[in-house]
Amino acid sequence: MDRRETIKNILLGSIGSSVLLESCVSSLDNKVLDKIWEYQYGRTSEEKKRDDKFLNSRFFSETELQTIEKIANIILPPNELGDINDAGVVELFEFIAKDWSTPAHNNYGEKVLRRGLIVFDELCIQKFGLKLLDCSKSQVKVLFDEISYENKSLKDQKESVKLFATYRGMIVTGYFTSEIGIKDLGYKGNTPNVWNGVPSEVLEQYIGIVSYDKEWIDKCVDQSKRGDIAKWDDEGNLLT
């Protein structure tokens, strides 16, 4: 049984005979439900309520989500590991739009994320007479070529340039915080291990730049004795 199934069973088990709750559950969009079960990350009950509220509501329309997906696939094209959907980037936009839609966040969802779609559509209509979603990929690229670089000589960057940078930032961060993105990046951690210094084949690349010095390393932990209970003499010298 995979983890999601286990969690599902635990949840349904705990719901038990409560007809009310079960009917609630069955009426939900299955995709949304799966998301609630996917996100088990040590929330307090208040935090969970907040997450559940946003996971159960919609901010963007279907057309807007398709537009975001199209933009994201052009900013980061699919590769052998997968595409933007595999990385959950569109879902991240949808969630952040609600999560940051408070006055404290200056209504980021409306004022920044939705505003971006409006501005990009307007520019596409000006150029090609079509909304972004109806443009060809090469037409969209013509637009992106114009707005994806800052013009340092301009004191105030154009709104479209700023919004593009925001979209690009969210797409890249969404990709590299996903399972496929982390694989692509090559991050090897978040797993139990025993750190015993920089691997020698890596250190070899830095000969003449940096290296371990013996005096320092001699003071460091002998990992073969990490399980021995520490004992000291009266002077604080480790005996074990």
Binding site: G42, S148, Y149, Y187, V210
Partner: protein, 571 residues
């Protein structure tokens, strides 16, 4: 409101379960005393799968870890940060303070950096060196035995260095430096900046049969499910609960210390946050460890005929001399580290090397020192990672921005090539930096809140300017480039807002003179013989060290004193 009183009478009531309160609970209950431990937040155990965030991946959060509900990100283990809904504080105009509160068993010890530094001999007698502030009424020799015991009980890695004001202890061996830390060592040595293995309370070696050994996930800020890092809940409270001498009251927000007609404490009253009702607990001794500002608030709110200005406040100094560490930071780009081969470099949850204060203030235009912490960037991505995917292109004359596959390549190219430097320094405590009760504002429980008034002086601002000068020299000497512009004079050289370093102390300061201090050298109120404060409040000065180790050493010493006083039936 009716106050419900149905508790047994305890030997000691401890308010707050963080560093000071957890320590006191352990020592007092081990001595066979009956303890009520009162915590404003919920029960927390990092090994509880419903609460743990350790080893989670960013995609397990729908916001990829961003800091919407937790200031340092979704996986950070603190319930509560600088803001808590329904529990405001106010700030005097044109001043600033940010007040961190972790409302949970173990308090802030679940998220801190585990930097476990002893204060040195100089730190207790700074006034003798520069004439500023006040000396502590105790010296390093008074507290040394407790530091020693603490090292052995809890475990802290480090090395013997024989530096006068950075006393050595009973250390576990440190982990080997990471690659970017070798660059730092090189830069520091060229710059004449002392650099030594860091001193963190993380178990690189087994210390007993109940706590695990570090498995190098680098996530101590999420609190370790194997108890291989120190937190008060994991190492003091949870084990103490098994002894049967501790009754734990969670979600219980203490309102005030109750006193009899002679002004002696009889117990505390608290709001049960689950039903909003007020209860009282009786005890022979009250030990406050709610955090420097929370304990000050409780005392100031404990008004009676005998103590019209608040309990223990005859000196009118409760809340005064509030001070936090100074801080500022800078990122450094190291071109030698682009296109790194990736491998697991998580290490322990913090730096493996650091720089203690290395200069003589006589030659400088500011008093007191700072230490330098080294931050990682070869870490697990969270929200914000890669947001400006190729801004470092500008150092190579290549255009910044664009889109397409090259962004992927740029992120990978620069991954792990920047490091963070942070300075943490000592401020001069001042009477006119303080917290007091705001008579016009109450929190959602009906308890009057704190109002803060805090301004940095030229001493602190010149100190952080020196930090930036040092960061730039270090960057150059490690073959790197300090990123961003150096903050200007108008920006106060980028000094952190007071409270942001989360080392606030001093609100119930210690001294021999009852007119010039709130507690005596055993952390007992001068005015009342059965109320103690064992958090950061009694600090006369917060050295350029993190306060936790000293909070705990003092709390241990105070606990032994309380046991002795109870035995002698003095209280």
């Amino acid at each position: 409101m009716e106050i419900i009183n149905n508790s047994p009478k305890y030997d000691v009531i401890v308010v707050g379960s963080g560093a000071g309160g957890g320590m006191a609970t352990k020592i007092l209950s081990d001595a066979g005393l009956k303890i009520a431990l009162v915590e404003a937040g919920p029960y927390f155990d990092p090994a509880n799968p419903d609460q743990m965030t350790q080893m989670k991946w960013p995609w397990e959060s729908p916001r990829r870890g961003s800091g919407t509900t937790r200031a340092f990100g979704d996986f950070h283990m603190s319930y509560g940060h600088w803001k808590i809904e329904g529990e405001p504080y106010t700030i005097e105009k044109e001043t600033n303070f940010r007040w961190w509160r972790s409302r949970m068993l173990g308090g802030r010890t679940n998220h801190w950096g585990r930097i476990s530094l002893r204060f040195g001999p100089k730190d207790f007698k700074s006034k003798d060196y520069d004439g500023l502030g006040e000396n502590w009424p105790i010296s390093y020799d008074d507290i040394k035995p407790y530091y020693d015991k603490l090292d052995k009980l809890i475990g802290v890695f480090g090395t013997k260095e024989n530096i006068f004001n950075e006393p050595d202890g009973f250390f576990l061996p440190p982990p080997k430096p990471r690659l970017h830390e070798l660059f730092y060592i090189k830069g520091a040595r060229k710059s004449g900046v002392t650099v030594i293995p860091s001193r963190l309370s993380i178990l690189t070696k087994r210390i007993n049969n109940t706590r695990g050994v570090c498995f190098y996930c680098g996530q101590c800020d999420r609190s370790c499910s194997a108890y291989a890092d120190f937190s008060s809940s994991s190492c003091y409270v949870i084990p103490s609960l098994k002894g049967g001498m501790v009754d734990l009251y969670t979600n219980s927000m203490v309102v005030e210390v109750k006193t009899d007609k002679n002004g002696r404490a009889t117990g505390v009253s608290y709001i049960n946050k689950e039903n909003g009702r007020e209860y009282s607990i009786r005890g022979k001794v009250v030990v406050l460890a709610a955090s420097a500002c929370s304990s000050a608030r409780i005392l100031l709110n404990s008004k009676s005929k005998a103590h019209p200005d608040g309990l223990g406040n005859s000196s009118n100094l409760i809340g005064k001399y509030l001070h936090d560490s100074t801080g500022t930071g800078r990122s450094v780009f190291i071109p030698d580290l682009i296109n790194r081969k990736t491998y697991n470099e998580d290490g322990v949850g913090g730096m493996h090397v650091y720089s203690p204060w290395w200069l003589d203030n006589k030659k400088l235009d500011f008093p007191r020192g700072y230490h330098i912490e080294i931050g990682r960037s070869f870490t697990m991505p969270e929200y914000g990672f890669g947001y400006n995917p190729n801004e470092l292109n500008r150092f190579f004359g290549v255009k910044v921005g664009g889109y397409g596959d090259k962004l992927r390549e740029d992120v990978k190219k620069y991954y792990g090539s920047t490091i963070g430097l942070s300075g943490r320094g000592e401020a001069i405590p001042r009477k006119d930096n303080y917290c007091e009760i705001d008579p016009d504002t109450k929190d959602k429980w009906g308890i009057p809140v704190l109002k803060f008034r805090y301004k940095w002086s030229d001493y602190e601002i010149k100190q952080v300017k020196h930090m930036h000068d040092t960061f730039e020299e270090l960057a150059y000497n490690m073959g790197g480039i300090a990123l961003g512009n150096k903050p200007t004079k108008e920006q106060n050289y980028g000094i952190s807002a007071p409270g942001e370093i989360i080392h606030e102390v001093g609100t119930t300061r210690m001294g021999d003179d009852p007119y010039n201090s709130v507690v005596n050298k055993y952390e007992r109120l001068h005015d009342v013989d059965n109320v103690y404060v064992v958090d950061g409040g009694p600090f006369v000065s917060q050295a350029d060290k993190n306060p936790t180790w000293t909070i705990m050493a003092l709390s241990w010493r105070t606990s032994e004193y309380i046991i002795d006083q109870l035995k002698k039936q003095n209280i």
